[in-house]
């Protein structure tokens, strides 16, 4: 019963694919040029690695990404599970709150931090993670909400409870594994944002990987393109690690042992 794709469908797919891929190929090609475009090689990438602060800033952003992802899961999973388990009357308001970051300009977060965030947080770069959690809420909320809607959550939670599990055990052992792909999605969204976010970092005067790219790219166009290819590939690697890495241990046991 598989539907066959018509020639027209293929044409559309092909165009979309080309639209997506051609600029990337061009960028990769460009980033490999050296010496006024007469030779190809990895010289631009070597140049990146040689720039001062590459490792340190990348590491900062990676930590921010990890913390953002953890905070998102800690905050959003229990909240949305609660909404699905009888907290329905809060659903409208929480949904609304999660949409607000889409319409609030980033600059007002920066102002808000200065006036309202506890000083001990303001003094570390990790304050950015808290802001990133807020900025990603519209997306992570959707991803997790859809995931939880797709499983018989109430039955699973009650089965787990009556088997003797605490709510924490239920979340970790039953609920989170059942919505793995939604959780992967939320992690990916928050990591991607934390690795690429520029405005807040600049406004709050922190050095992160994106601000560092901005600085070093001023002086070297080829290097700047190489950097963006590098970031792109890096983001893909994160996707791969999140989606495939901690593979569910049963996916290869589908045939009976």
């Amino acid at each position: 019963m598989k539907r066959r794709l018509s020639a027209g469908n293929y044409l559309v797919l092909l165009c979309a694919f080309a639209f997506f891929v051609v600029p990337m190929i061009a960028a990769i090609e460009f980033s490999l040029r050296g010496d006024q475009g007469t030779t190809h090689g990895l010289s631009n990438y070597r140049w990146i690695l040689a720039q001062e602060g590459f490792g340190a800033n990348l590491f900062t952003s990676a930590r921010l990404a990890a913390i953002t992802a953890i905070l998102v899961l800690l905050l959003m999973v229990p909240t949305i599970v609660y909404l699905h388990l009888g907290g329905a009357r809060w659903k409208r308001i929480i949904e609304f709150i999660c949409l607000v970051p889409l319409v609030v300009p980033v600059i007002s977060y920066a102002m808000g931090v200065a006036t309202a965030m506890p000083i001990f947080l303001q003094s570390t770069v990790y304050e950015l993670s808290f802001l990133y959690v807020i900025v990603t809420m519209p997306y992570t909320y959707r991803a997790l909400d859809v995931g939880l809607s797709s499983i018989p959550l109430l039955t699973l939670v009650e089965a787990s409870k009556s088997a003797g599990a605490t709510m924490r055990q239920t979340l970790v052992l039953v609920v989170m594994p059942s919505i793995r792909s939604a959780i992967n999605g939320a992690i990916f969204l928050s990591v991607a944002l934390a690795l690429g976010e520029f405005t807040l970092a600049v406004l709050l005067h922190w050095d992160t990987f994106p601000t560092w790219i901005n600085n070093v790219a001023q002086s070297n166009v080829l290097g700047a393109v190489s950097l963006s290819v590098f970031s792109l590939v890096g983001a893909w690697l994160v996707v791969l690690v999140v989606a495939v890495g901690p593979k569910s241990k049963h996916s290869d046991q589908n045939q009976e042992a």
């Binding site: 039955t155 089965a159 409870k161 599990a165 049963h250 046991q253």
Partner: protein, 353 residues
């Protein structure tokens, strides 16, 4: 692994309302140690509510719940040590069959070896040795419910709670698994509350059947007693098929039904002098008319039910249709269109005013 002694359960005056709906109304139920009680009743009568309150998944507004003589009101569901099997498939989708069964032991931090040993033991008890490494979506519905039963038993529950565990299964699997649940329950001796709206299932499996209506337990007695001596009209009408025949109370306090006198009882304390008598299909006999007993009905239909045949007959005097059940081998004597004599063979029928 059996806990042969079982544990007693008493629900006393339990009341639960949802808004204006009274789901349980001063509900009383005592279950003896090791007993299997089936709660039977029409949809919405509060069966699931009673079970969930016992499990701690819902909270009653008033009333006491004693398990082994101790009040467990306020004890959260995960501390009540009750095994539950749900109507909907409820296996954890990311765990194998064995992991599902071992789950209750895992969250209790019981050692891995013990978990595996006991999970295998239970898998054998429910007859699914071969499937331990499968995921739930690789099992049939009947197999999933067996695993759910094994999972519920794995924690050595003080009480086993089953909420229509068979209703999603087809007829054949249902009867088979029903008998198996009974066997396993007898073997492990766990006090069990089984909710169903299927009369046959309740009768077949239970030591006692509790018939519910509008949040009240109307009668809780052996299957035979509920069927043969229903405590009131509503239980009688709900359990098994009934003919409703016009009846009048005579001066010597018998019922007159189609010219015959029949003994009756009046548990509901009726004051009305006429109404409809409740007579089971097997309490009606058909015969051929004789000169003393002229025909009073005519056969209009025959339904073959296997060993029994249900014959419908139209009463000549008022046009009512009666249903009579008789062994199929005798049914050929009463073809459609035959004039017959209907005799009521009952001693203490109920009257519905």
């Amino acid at each position: 692994m059996s806990n042969q002694h079982g544990i007693s359960v008493n629900l006393q005056g339990v009341t639960k309302t949802y808004g204006t709906v009274v789901a349980l109304n001063n509900f009383n139920l005592d279950i003896a140690p090791g007993e299997l009680v089936a709660l039977l009743g029409p949809s919405g009568c509060g069966k699931t509510t009673a079970l969930r309150i016992l499990a701690g998944l819902d909270t009653q507004h008033s009333g006491q719940i004693l398990v082994d003589g101790k009040d467990i009101v306020g004890v959260p569901a995960n501390k009540r040590n009750m095994g539950m099997v749900f109507q909907a498939y409820s296996l954890f989708p990311t765990m194998t069959v064995l992991e599902n069964i071992a789950y209750g032991m895992r969250v209790r931090h019981i050692s891995k070896e013990k978990q595996v040993a006991r999970a295998n033991e239970l898998l054998e008890l429910v007859g699914l040795q071969e499937t331990g490494k499968r995921l739930s979506h690789q099992l049939s519905g009947g197999q999933q419910q067996r695993v759910a039963l094994a999972r519920a038993l794995a924690i050595e529950p003080s009480v086993l709670l089953l909420d229509e565990p068979l209703s999603a299964l087809d007829a054949q699997v249902r009867t088979q698994l029903r008998d198996e649940i009974k066997r396993i329950q007898t073997e492990v001796g766990t006090t069990t509350l089984f909710v169903t709206h299927d009369q046959e299932e309740a009768m077949a499996i239970a030591d006692r059947v509790g018939v519910m209506r509008h949040g009240v337990l109307e009668q809780c007695a052996s299957p035979q007693a509920v069927y043969l001596n229903p405590i009131n009209v509503s239980v009688a009408k709900f359990v098994g098929a009934m003919n409703l025949l016009p009846a009048v109370v005579t001066t010597n306090n018998e019922l007159e039904i189609y010219g015959q006198s029949v003994g009756w009882r009046n548990p509901d304390g009726l004051t009305a002098r006429s109404g409809r008598a409740l007579v089971r299909p097997e309490q009606l006999l058909l015969g051929s008319p004789t000169t003393d007993r002229p025909a009073n009905a005519i056969v209009t239909n025959q339904t073959f039910l296997g060993p029994l045949t249900r014959i419908s007959a139209k009463v000549m005097s008022d046009g009512n249709t009666l249903h009579v059940e008789m062994p199929s081998i005798e049914a050929s004597d009463y073809p459609i269109g035959k004039n017959v004599v209907v005799t009521i063979q009952a001693t203490s029928v109920l009257l519905d005013a």
